[in-house]
Structure formats: structure tokens, C-alpha cells
């Protein structure tokens, strides 16, 4: 029997080790797996590489890990929306590295990894600092740069409903990076608002098929 349901956050993140690269879903506060991130903090993990759209805000989530000096490197598209003081201070103090890339390139690099593709040419960033050191090509008069698949050990994702096969739905725009990160990571761990029985999710409405998910844990708090 396939049963990906974990009965505690600790069980769900048990495979994580120091030095892991971890994708974290979310845009704004929508879709951020705060409870899983809190469990990572509590577990005492160190030397982490975090792949996410932002670098955390206030002192929770990714910012909480940065504040506790658990993060070696942030790979993201926008490390300084408002309330990003925790990251900015740590970065200026030399406590954390930064790799910044266009948001669409971040999403597409994750997709290439999850889809088994190699590098791909994108026009985004051509003629800019983003292109430095990268292979470039002009095709039909338009410039492109070669971007690499972005693999990671784990994904921590927030979804809405999940079943024991790992099938997921997301609420509204909390979907954002969840589906592509579940595809891209070797091991995807998903917190859901509610676990439902197998067969409760209509097949046509599943947003992440269970094949891309390794663990599902309910955190309650359904909105």
C-alpha cells in the first residue's frame, strides 16, 4: 500500500540532513510552508541552501532560519521585498551567500530539473548582468542565454488538500511554486490543511499528481 501520510512534522522532515538544498514554495506569504520551516529550525539543521522566490520576511519562515544562522546560501529572484531586514543584515554581515536570478528563469530552471531536460535558452536576461559568464546565442535576431536545470534535495511545500498517494490541490494563488518544486526536488514534503481519503480529489482537479510527492503532513488551520 502506498501511504505517504506522516503523522507529525518531525516524521515528515526526518530525511533532511545538514547541508541539504531545500526548495521552499510561496510567493508573498501565500503558499509558504511555515510549519515545516519551523520544524526544520527546531531540528537544528545547519548549512542549508534555500531555493525560494524570496529570502524570507520578518523573523519567521526562511528569515527565522537565516536569523539562527542555519542558511549558507539563498537562491532566489527577489531577496528584498519589504520586511526583508533579516536577510539584508545577514547578507551584509557576510553570513549568507546570495544567488539571484529572474523569477521566470527560477521557475523554468526548476521545471527543467523536474522534467529531465538539460539546459535551455531563454531570452530573459540577455544583454544584462544575468548573462555574464553564460553561453549566449542570437537566433533570428533575438538574443538568448543558456540556463541550467536547478536540482535540489528536498522541497518543502504548502498545499491545501492531500491524499495518501500524494495528490495535491492548492488554494488560489498559493499554488505558485508548489507544483514545479514538487517536480524538481528529489524528495518533496508537503504540508496540507487537510488530508482527504483516496478518491476524494476529483482526478481532473488534482494540481500535483502524487508521483511528484514523497510525504504529506496535515497542519490543520484550514482557511
Amino acid at each position: 500500500m502506498i501511504d505517504k501520510i506522516k503523522h507529525s512534522l518531525e516524521d515528515a522532515i526526518a530525511p533532511l540532513q545538514d547541508g541539504a538544498s531545500i526548495m521552499v514554495s510561496g510567493f508573498g506569504e501565500a503558499g509558504i510552508p511555515f510549519e515545516l520551516l519551523r520544524a526544520v529550525l527546531d531540528k537544528g539543521l545547519r548549512d542549508l541552501t534555500i531555493i525560494s522566490n524570496n529570502a524570507g520576511t520578518h523573523e519567521v519562515g526562511i528569515a527565522g532560519l537565516i536569523k539562527a544562522k542555519r542558511v549558507r546560501k539563498i537562491v532566489c529572484s527577489h531577496p528584498r521585498p519589504i520586511n526583508s531586514e533579516t536577510f539584508l543584515a545577514a547578507y551584509r554581515a557576510g553570513e549568507v551567500e546570495l544567488e539571484c536570478m529572474p523569477q521566470g528563469t527560477l521557475a523554468e530552471r526548476l521545471r527543467a530539473a523536474g522534467s529531465g531536460l538539460g539546459p535551455f535558452f531563454t531570452p530573459t536576461g540577455y544583454g544584462t548582468l544575468v548573462a555574464e559568464g553564460k553561453e549566449q546565442r542570437v537566433i533570428d535576431g533575438k538574443g538568448y542565454i543558456l540556463e541550467q536545470p536547478l536540482h535540489g534535495d528536498f522541497a518543502l511545500v504548502r498545499a491545501h488538500l492531500g491524499d495518501r498517494w500524494g495528490n495535491l490541490t492548492y488554494r488560489w494563488a498559493a499554488r505558485n511554486f508548489g507544483p514545479v518544486m514538487c517536480m524538481a526536488a528529489k524528495h518533496s514534503i508537503v504540508q496540507v490543511n487537510r488530508v482527504v481519503a483516496l478518491g476524494d480529489l476529483p482526478p481532473e482537479q488534482v494540481m500535483t499528481p502524487g508521483i511528484f510527492v514523497q510525504a504529506v503532513v496535515a497542519v490543520g488551520g484550514e482557511r
Binding site: P81, C100, T124, G125, V130, P179
Partner: protein, 249 residues
């Protein structure tokens, strides 16, 4: 939608030539009223976000957001606030009937793939060849933050930049070449500033509309590159309702 553009400060000192620069809301009003019915538009963070408040009620204009929403309405309030329904600036919004939600790769495919009619972005600098700089100043301690700007700048059919015509210390922002790191090369179609509307053409900047009371000579001094004049140059004036207009009616 509120039309707070009429509430600008009257304490603002008028220039010697007696013109009153457009407020940010007035610039947004002009941009909003230049979209044709049916346009699909992405409004970048910062000043472009204001455009949503001035979309003409008699046209159906679809707003796309990089976090996967197509068909955004205005800001949500009260019981309509759902923290999982936000725009690119993280503000809760409502969804219009007909809205749809996608995951992130599709949201960016919409931009990069040329499916948006208009992308509206803020700008630090625009060069006469259409280069845009809006993500990183050249300061030694500047921290990179790209977000969706580079994708928004490459894919849309038309790229519109909204910005003040000069910086606070009166340095031109329309230049022969950008001095800040580029967001994208050769992409800008039109610039809406507090003083003028300027098209970026293969031969450089062309003045389409100029603020009432401002001379072309003065505008040219505030512009760091050569400014050609359109055959169809018009004046941006404020109508009886205080709304900025520039087209012959």
C-alpha cells in the same frame, strides 16, 4: 475605483513656465486610458500598480499577475480579503468573474511567450535604443533583486515605462545609454513621465505628447538624449473634471 488623482497638493510650487507636473496618479490615469478594449496587461510593482485604479469602466481590460492570476480586480477589503489571493505587490485583491489561476511556470510563459499585450514597468533609466534599467542601482552596496522585471520586459508585445522625467536632483532619466545595469536591452516602446509621453523608435526618442505650459526646449533640457518631435505632437492638459487628456476628441 477611487479617482484620488484630483487630490494632489495645490501647495506645490509652479515652475516659471507655469506647468504643474503630472502626479503619479495622473500618469497612471494616462496609461490606463491608452489601453484598448480587451487588452491583457501586467502591472509591475511600484508606480504601475496605480494604473489598476484608473482603468476605464467602459473597456474590459484583463490584469495578469506574475503569481499566477489572470483577471484580477481591485484591492480586496473586509470579508473579501483572502491572503491566498494577492497581487505581485503582495496586496490582497479580488478576482473578477472569468479569472483563472495557474502555477508559476505558466504565469511566466504568458509573459515570455508574447501573450501579454502590455507590460507596464517602473524605470530608473531608459536609453534611446529602448534599453531599460529598473532593478539595480550602481551603488557598491546595492543588493540584487530581480523578481519578475526581466521576464516582464522581454516578452510583452508592448513595454511601457512609467517614471519621473528626472531624478530628485534633476538628472535626466532618458539617456543615450543607461549607466545602471540593464533589466533588458532594446525593449521599451513608450515612456510615460510626469512631463511627457515619449515613444522609443528605431531612430530614438520621439515626443508624442507634452504637458501643457511646458516648452519643448525646456523638456529637451530635462532629457539626456536627442528628442525628436512627432508630426502629431499633442498637449497633455487637464479637462474640466481635472483628468489629464492628450488626444484630440
Amino acid at each position: 475605483m477611487s479617482r484620488t488623482h484630483t487630490k494632489q497638493s495645490s501647495a506645490q510650487a509652479l515652475q516659471p513656465e507655469s506647468y504643474k507636473p503630472l502626479s503619479r496618479n495622473e500618469i497612471a490615469y494616462l496609461v490606463a486610458h491608452d489601453f484598448p478594449d480587451g487588452a491583457v496587461v501586467n502591472l509591475g510593482i511600484g508606480m504601475p500598480t496605480l494604473v489598476a485604479d484608473f482603468l476605464p469602466a467602459d473597456r474590459e481590460i484583463l490584469l495578469q499577475s506574475e503569481n499566477g492570476i489572470l483577471g484580477m480586480g481591485g484591492a480586496a477589503s473586509g470579508a473579501d480579503i483572502d491572503l491566498d489571493i494577492i497581487n505581485a505587490s503582495r496586496t490582497p485583491v479580488v478576482l473578477l468573474p472569468g479569472a483563472s489561476i495557474t502555477e508559476h511556470t505558466i504565469a511566466f510563459a504568458m509573459m515570455r511567450g508574447g501573450h501579454l499585450d502590455y507590460s507596464v514597468l517602473g524605470g530608473f533609466q531608459v536609453a534611446e535604443n529602448g534599453d531599460l534599467a529598473n532593478w539595480l542601482t550602481a551603488g557598491p552596496d546595492a543588493i540584487a533583486a530581480i523578481g519578475g522585471a526581466m521576464d516582464l520586459a522581454v516578452g510583452a508585445r508592448e513595454v511601457i515605462v512609467m517614471m519621473e522625467h528626472v531624478t530628485k536632483d534633476q538628472t535626466p532619466k532618458l539617456l543615450p545609454a543607461c549607466t545602471y545595469p540593464l533589466t533588458a536591452a532594446g525593449v521599451v516602446n513608450t515612456i510615460y513621465t510626469d512631463l511627457a509621453i515619449i515613444d522609443v523608435t528605431p531612430s530614438g526618442f520621439v515626443l508624442r505628447a507634452i504637458l501643457e505650459g511646458l516648452t519643448v526646449e525646456t523638456l529637451a533640457k530635462k532629457t539626456g538624449a536627442t528628442l525628436a518631435i512627432s508630426d502629431k505632437l499633442t498637449v497633455i492638459r487637464r479637462n474640466a473634471q481635472g483628468e489629464p487628456v492628450y488626444k484630440a476628441v
